[in-house]
């Protein structure tokens, strides 16, 4: 793709996009699994507090749990049915978390229960933030950061630009692409809510040049009274990382250790924005989300609106994944996590499921060579760190030095350095470990 002259950030990589197989497929509804597992931790912050008891019948959209504290959000029933039990379930991190096990009721109309609407025209910013927390909205891009927490802007801070992130730079994923094509009005309504909350002067919907149809579609429908524009960026990974987006669009750099707010910007994922626009006017909560299911092992690839809590095992069976699946990751291949088991459930932060079978998984046991000082990693790192140096310090376990002299804590684990390293050094893995060690030392010392 010729994309010279488009805005972007410095460094970065060009992994194969692998999006063509699903980007043209319209969003379809995914069936209900016989048992849905709704983890009460789908966000950073404390587990939500259950509001239902075992054996209780619930209606789709009903609140199952309420937030416990500032960083916590509500959970809603993804289906009408019966609460079988409340107990621990494995999460993607491998840890056990509390969850509501829900048995959907066959034959139910599955009509969605509505709550108290949050009307755009009359709601105050505080009311909108509260409604977003009540709707259980977290960043649908993957990190699970509660959206309302982002929107509580201290009074002395000022946001001038709201960035709606539709870059979707992760290979394979096409959910944001489809959402922009199919939920344009939801996106615009979401932007109106967000502009009102943040007080920003304008919104920019940012997407990569590999989605020209979405850019065109959004531009052509842009309401005249909406202070928003659509910006097409160069196709480059990790273009969708907040800091990269901000420097590409605004030419500002978020200070090390700081927040986008420090440079008067705020980024919200485009699918999250669409959910805000779709749910708030009806007082509903998130009970489903759009995900891309793809990868060489998947027969029925596509984009699906899937109930939260759908177990991975059921999901893979439905899309025709054969017995010999050997690797499944949730989210994109660059930053997503490999599923530790098939018993984990789709959560609000799951943007995609990519499955490989034994024959088509790329070689996973590769020779690790010593660093040959090729410098590829330096050219790749979007934070402009020195991954080669960090890697050699990690080997000698000089974690404090990594943090103090080589900005370890600025690494956001995008994976670009590991991607390019011809010596196959597991750089990101080492950095993750080192960061944990530094945090631990900081907490104790």
């Amino acid at each position: 793709m010729i994309s010279l002259g488009l805005k972007s950030f410095r460094h970065g990589i060009h992994p194969p996009e692998a999006k063509d197989e699903t980007s043209g497929l319209a969003i379809r509804q995914f069936p209900f699994a016989p048992l849905l597992i709704v983890p009460l931790v789908q966000h950073l912050g404390k587990p939500s507090l259950p509001l239902v008891r075992e054996g209780e019948t619930v209606v789709r959209g009903q609140r199952l749990a309420r937030p416990d504290g500032f960083m916590s959000v509500s959970m809603h029933a993804p289906a009408s049915g019966t609460v079988k039990s409340i107990g621990p379930t494995p999460s993607i991190s491998g840890r056990m978390v509390p969850a509501v096990f829900l048995e959907p009721q066959p034959g139910s109309t599955q009509e969605v229960m509505e709550g108290t609407p949050c009307p755009l025209a009359s709601a105050t910013p505080e009311e909108i933030v509260a409604a977003i927390q009540d709707a259980g909205i977290v960043g649908l891009g993957g990190a699970g950061f509660p959206t309302h927490a982002k929107l509580r802007i201290p009074p002395e801070r000022h946001v001038d630009t709201l960035i709606i992130n539709g870059a979707e730079c992760e290979p394979y994923l096409t959910t944001d692409h489809r959402v922009m094509l199919e939920q344009r009005d939801d996106v615009f309504t979401g932007i109106r809510y967000l502009l009102k909350v943040t007080g920003a002067e304008r919104a920019i919907v940012a997407l990569e040049a590999n989605k020209p149809d979405a850019a065109q579609h959004l531009r052509s429908g842009l309401p005249g009274d909406l202070s928003a524009s659509v910006e097409v960026l160069r196709v480059k990974y990790p273009q969708g990382a907040e800091k990269m987006l901000i420097s590409a669009l605004l030419g500002r750099e978020v200070p090390s250790g700081g927040l986008p707010l420090d440079v008067h910007a705020l980024c919200v994922n485009v699918a999250t924005t669409a959910e805000i626009g779709r749910l708030l006017p009806h007082g509903r909560g998130i009970q489903e989300r759009v995900i891309t299911i793809t990868g060489p092992a998947v027969q029925h690839k596509g984009n699906y609106r899937i109930p939260i809590g759908t177990p991975l095992r059921f999901l893979l069976g439905e899309v025709g994944v054969e017995e010999d699946v050997t690797r499944v990751f949730l989210g994109g291949p660059m930053m997503g996590a490999a599923a530790p088991s098939l018993d984990i459930a789709i959560t609000k932060g799951t943007s995609g499921v990519v499955a490989f079978d034994a024959t088509r998984a790329e070689r996973s046991h590769r020779t690790v060579y010593p660093c040959i000082r090729c410098g590829y990693c330096l050219d790749a790192c979007p934070m402009r760190l020195d991954p080669a140096q960090l890697g050699s310090l990690a080997r000698s376990q000089e974690y404090a030095r990594m943090a103090d002299e080589f900005h370890l804590m600025d690494c956001f684990e995008c994976g670009s350095c590991s991607f390019v390293c011809p010596s196959h050094i597991p750089l990101v893995q080492q950095f993750r470990f080192a960061k944990a060690a530094v945090r631990k030392a900081g907490a104790h010392g």
Binding site: P171, E323, P333, G336, L342, R373, H424, P426
Partner: protein, 341 residues
């Protein structure tokens, strides 16, 4: 509904990698060197073939033994020592006695590479370490050049090649001086067109600038070589020698002559760019290249030897680690006033 039940493979992200690996890069460097190597054999015949193959085999064997001795797995598969062997052979005079080739090859790999810890740890280009050793130990043999394109080059072997170990080589009557030596000692310039195409005597691989550039372009196109280094070297040599030539064309050779003579092309394209010994960022590579270019001119013009590429690169290799320390990209979001934590 089938329930997939196989054991899942758990790895941490990223789950995708580029196709590059050390062995593919090194293999491609070997490929890029093949035209130059073939031309060397074409130009100097049997003698070059023997020097090149002896050099390569010696380096491979030395690496194998070094791996065995240090308990490392054999590293022949990463192709890096094949490059060392070829490059080393390409820097030698075609008539060099084979026993000297062997000695230098052992030194190149054992002292230039294995002693430092093997691949990735050697600050100096091993091929040049080997050559520098020979230059010091056998200065006469290393500066005695047999002419290129003799009519009997594929049938007869100069008497020097098969000299018995530790004896002084006997040269046939005809040996030729290199263009650089001709200039340095007799102020006699050679035809630049002939230099570029490689029809003039010199080290086995120093002859065809054109083929060297083709090999380099191939590697640059595949992102396996820094273009900044050779370009900076050429620019520095051209600018510096151009300025001198402008001042006094009688004493100082023209920049085109400087660029196309001696080991400059081979050194700039294939030796200075060795990833292990060169800096990592493009900015540092430009400085490093410029430094080499300046040194080459200084040594050639004011030094005692006609050729300076080898020492220029070795000196620059020694500076690499400092260049990498000084020249770093500014970390995203780091502020100048940021106090060290």
């Amino acid at each position: 509904m089938t329930a997939p039940a196989r054991t899942l493979e758990i790895r941490t992200s990223p789950h995708m990698v580029s196709g590059y690996s050390v062995d593919t890069i090194m293999f491609n460097v070997v490929v890029a060197l093949l035209p130059v190597t073939a031309f060397a054999v074409y130009a100097f015949g049997l003698a070059a073939l023997l020097v090149l193959s002896t050099a390569t085999v010696t380096c491979l064997l030395t690496e194998r033994v070094a791996c065995r001795l240090s308990g490392r797995a054999s590293s022949l598969g990463d192709w890096s020592v094949a490059i060392t062997g070829l490059l080393y052979g390409l820097t030698l005079p075609p008539g060099l006695p084979l026993w000297m080739v062997v000695v230098g090859g052992v030194v190149a790999v054992a002292l230039g590479k294995a002693l430092f810890g093997g691949l990735g740890c050697n600050p100096f280009n091993p091929a040049l370490v080997g050559r520098a050793f020979l230059q010091a130990a056998f200065p006469v043999a290393m500066t005695t050049w047999s002419p290129a394109f003799t009519s009997d080059r594929f049938t007869a072997l100069g008497s020097s090649t098969l000299t018995l170990p530790f004896t002084r080589p006997l040269y046939d009557a005809v040996t030729s001086a290199t263009p650089l030596a001709l200039w340095k000692f007799e102020r006699q310039a050679s035809e630049v067109g002939e230099l570029a195409l490689g029809f003039i005597g010199g080290s086995t691989g120093e002859t065809s600038a054109l083929l060297i550039l083709v090999g380099g372009a191939y590697l640059v196109a595949r992102n396996m070589m820094s273009w900044q280094i050779p370009v900076a070297i050429f620019a520095a040599v051209a600018a510096f020698s151009g300025a001198l030539h402008g001042l006094d064309p009688e004493t100082y050779a023209s920049p085109t002559f400087m660029l196309f003579s001696g080991g400059l092309m081979l050194g700039a394209v294939f030796m200075a760019t060795d990833m292990v010994g060169s800096p990592m960022t493009s900015g540092a590579c430009l400085l490093y290249g410029a430094g080499i270019g300046m040194l080459v001119v200084v040594i050639r013009v004011w030094g005692g030897m006609p050729e300076g590429v080898m020492y220029a690169i070795l000196l620059a290799n020694a500076c690499t680690i400092h260049l990498d320390r000084w020249i770093r990209p500014r970390v995203y979001g780091a502020t100048a006033q940021e106090a060290p934590r």
